[in-house]
């Protein structure tokens, strides 16, 4: 009997739940289990992780018997650009300062749009940077360096 995945979304969700549950379960075994009266740090996580794996298993099995839509139109490029942009912002804001971080963040993420245009983006990046420096550094006084240690400040 040929078995095939008929509900890809449930199937993948199930695999994710099983994987994460397994990870939590394994790591929890390093901690003390304790008893029902005095629960150790591993007690509840072990129960929950087992439950998560069971739910994942249920989803995977169910996906073989129930029909569902395929996963379509995943926006890989957009996801990647937002991820890279945000991580860059995180690195730069501390080390290069707010100005560099914002210019990079706006420029990188703006490319995720199909309407990306370098001139509009440059204007937007400059405008947002000036606006945020005024609001967050001068008005609200957040402890974020305008120019960071990388540039010798």
């Amino acid at each position: 009997m040929a078995v095939s995945v008929r509900h890809p979304k449930d199937f993948i969700s199930g695999l994710i739940f099983i994987g994460l549950g397994f990870g939590f379960f394994l790591i929890a075994q390093d901690y003390k289990m304790g008893t029902a009266t005095r629960m150790g740090p591993a007690y509840l996580p072990t129960i929950l992780a087992t439950l998560l794996m069971l739910i994942g298993l249920g989803l995977v099995v169910r996906a073989l018997f129930r029909d569902g839509d395929r996963v379509t139109g995943v926006a890989w490029k957009q996801t990647l650009l937002i991820l890279i942009g945000t991580v860059m912002f995180g690195i730069l804001v501390r080390n290069a300062g707010l100005v560099a971080a914002l210019l990079a963040y706006v420029s990188i993420t703006a490319m995720a749009s199909i309407y990306f245009h370098w001139r509009a983006t440059a204007l937007l990046a400059a405008g947002m940077t000036i606006f945020c420096v005024i609001i967050f550094i001068y008005a609200l006084g957040l402890p974020i360096p305008m120019i960071g240690p990388w540039f010798g400040a």
Partner: protein, 500 residues
């Protein structure tokens, strides 16, 4: 009259220049960001949360509550004008509201939404003032077993009332509970699931989680089909309702308010469920159900009243029991904890000015909404015409600075990036992020109460069914599960959520 005395305390606390200013500021900011397409109240509050850290607790909570109604109202505006509901509770508003706008009656639809919301907000605030004290008193008698069972009931109810697959929603809750346990264990001090990273010792920053899942995740989803976003906004005219309109809407507004107030108290998507339920009820009761979906004014009045009433009464479990019933309340509870206030029954007795101040400010906030938003509608409409490709980088910048400034650590920014991608993947797989956030907030509380209950009973799990209140709640949770799983209800439930 104790109620009047309490309200007087609240008026004293809320009607100061400073607090009125923050209430107004919250409502304005909330509407401003809520009007931007694709940003609902959760993302808006998460984004603006860091801006309230420096304020005194009452002002901070007043501002956050203002942001909440503002964002919700903003969401209805986009639903009516461009058929893009900012959040799931205004999905039904878009059905008839957008049709009204296309027929040139956008003004009437917006006024109906505003008036209905204001009326519902007023009634629900009064209900909150009346019912909160007895509930909090009852909650003081709760032991750890009762608390644990109550949270189980809350989580089960939130699954039962959510849309989409039950099994996936339960999975998301369990995953949220596990994520909530990351960090140092309170009892033993053991760092759990921290991978030896000191940044995780205090647990995952919930602003990073919420902003990633609801902010970044949503933005990526919106960028997916940019071409199909038509932003054609006509000029809004004719804000005044005719006498005939009034005659049509007053009953739906009353019914929506009643339904919303009751459903809002239930844990789970209070505002969402109440708007759906109110819409179906009106359609059933109407003599001319065929008008619904084609611009029936009742189809705007009822759900808008219901979701505002539900939004208001969902504060009841959070303020009296300390248990958030939806993601927005989870954020509010988080904000209270950051301000050094443990949400729960003691807030009312120990900090009466704070408690009653918030309640009174809710009414004031609703009042500001109505007097501000109708005149300002032209401004909001202009905001809607700012193209999304210029808007989303700006939103990201605010998310980034916001999450960084919570703890001044870039680790949280990386977490937000990760949760953003995770949120997008989950939305592609039709796993709702809301139950995860609820589980995340409740995780540590559940573990704490479970441990205490079990220690007190010397390891006997029967304690949860031997104590009557706890047993009742577990029974209700079991019943809710059985009802939702029964084939007949299941079919009905799917139909109800398919109305969009």
């Amino acid at each position: 009259m104790e109620l009047l005395a309490n309200l007087a305390i609240g008026i004293d606390a809320a009607v100061t220049f400073q607090n009125l200013f923050y209430c107004l500021g919250g409502v304005l900011l909330g509407t401003l960001i809520g009007v931007l397409p694709g940003l609902g109240p959760v993302a808006t509050i998460a984004m603006l949360l860091p801006a309230t850290f420096a304020l005194p607790p009452l002002s901070a909570l007043i501002m956050l509550a203002g942001i909440y109604y503002g964002a919700q109202y903003g969401g209805s505006t986009t639903a009516i004008l461009i058929n893009l509901p900012g959040e799931s509770s205004s999905v039904v508003t878009a059905l008839d509201g957008y049709q009204m706008a296309r027929q040139g009656r956008a003004g009437a639809a917006l006024s109906t939404a505003a008036l209905g919301s204001f009326f519902a907000g007023t009634v629900a605030t009064l209900l909150l003032a009346v019912f909160a004290p007895p509930l909090a008193e009852m909650a003081l008698k709760f032991g750890p077993a009762e608390y644990f069972s109550l949270m189980v009931l809350g989580l089960v109810a939130s699954v039962a009332l959510a849309n989409g697959s039950l099994l996936k929603a339960i999975g998301m809750i369990v995953l949220g509970l596990l994520l909530g346990l990351v960090g140092s264990d309170v009892n033993s001090g053991t760092p759990r699931f921290t991978f030896d990273m000191p940044d995780l010792a205090d647990g995952i920053n919930f602003v990073a989680l919420a902003m990633g899942m609801f902010g970044l995740g949503e933005i990526i989803k919106n960028l997916e089909d940019e071409k199909n976003r038509d932003v054609m906004v006509k000029k809004v005219t004719g804000l005044w309702l005719t006498w005939d309109d009034f005659k049509l809407i007053w009953k739906p507004v009353l019914r929506g308010t009643g339904l919303g107030s009751i459903l809002g108290i239930l844990p789970g998507g209070g505002a969402i469920l109440s708007s759906f339920a109110a819409y179906s009820l009106e359609k059933k009761l109407s003599k001319t159900p065929e008008r619904f979906g084609k611009g029936a004014i009742e189809g705007v009045a009822a759900p808008e009243s219901a979701n505002n009433a539900g939004a208001q009464t969902s504060f009841i479990p959070m303020l009296t029991l300390g248990i958030p019933s939806n993601p927005v309340m989870a954020l509010m509870a988080g904000a209270m904890i950051i301000q050094g206030i443990q949400p729960g029954p003691l807030v009312m007795t120990e900090q009466p000015t704070l408690f009653w101040g918030i309640i009174v400010s809710m009414w004031i906030g609703n009042f500001f909404l109505i007097i501000l938003n109708l005149p300002l509608i032209g401004l909001w409409v202009r905001l809607l015409t700012v193209p999304y490709h210029l808007m989303f980088p700006a939103i990201l910048v605010f998310c980034g600075i916001g999450v960084y400034s919570v703890n001044n650590t870039n680790f949280d920014v990386f977490m937000m990036a990760g949760f953003g991608v995770a949120g997008y993947i989950f939305s592609k797989l039709e796993c709702e992020p809301a139950p995860l956030l609820l589980g995340f907030i409740l995780g540590p509380m559940m573990e704490e109460n479970l441990r205490r209950a079990m220690t007190l009973s010397r390891g006997d799990a029967m304690v949860f069914i031997e104590r009557p209140i706890s047993a009742t709640m577990l029974l209700l949770a079991a019943l809710a599960m059985i009802v939702v799983l029964s084939p007949a209800v299941r079919k009905k439930r799917e139909e109800a959520f398919q109305e969009e």
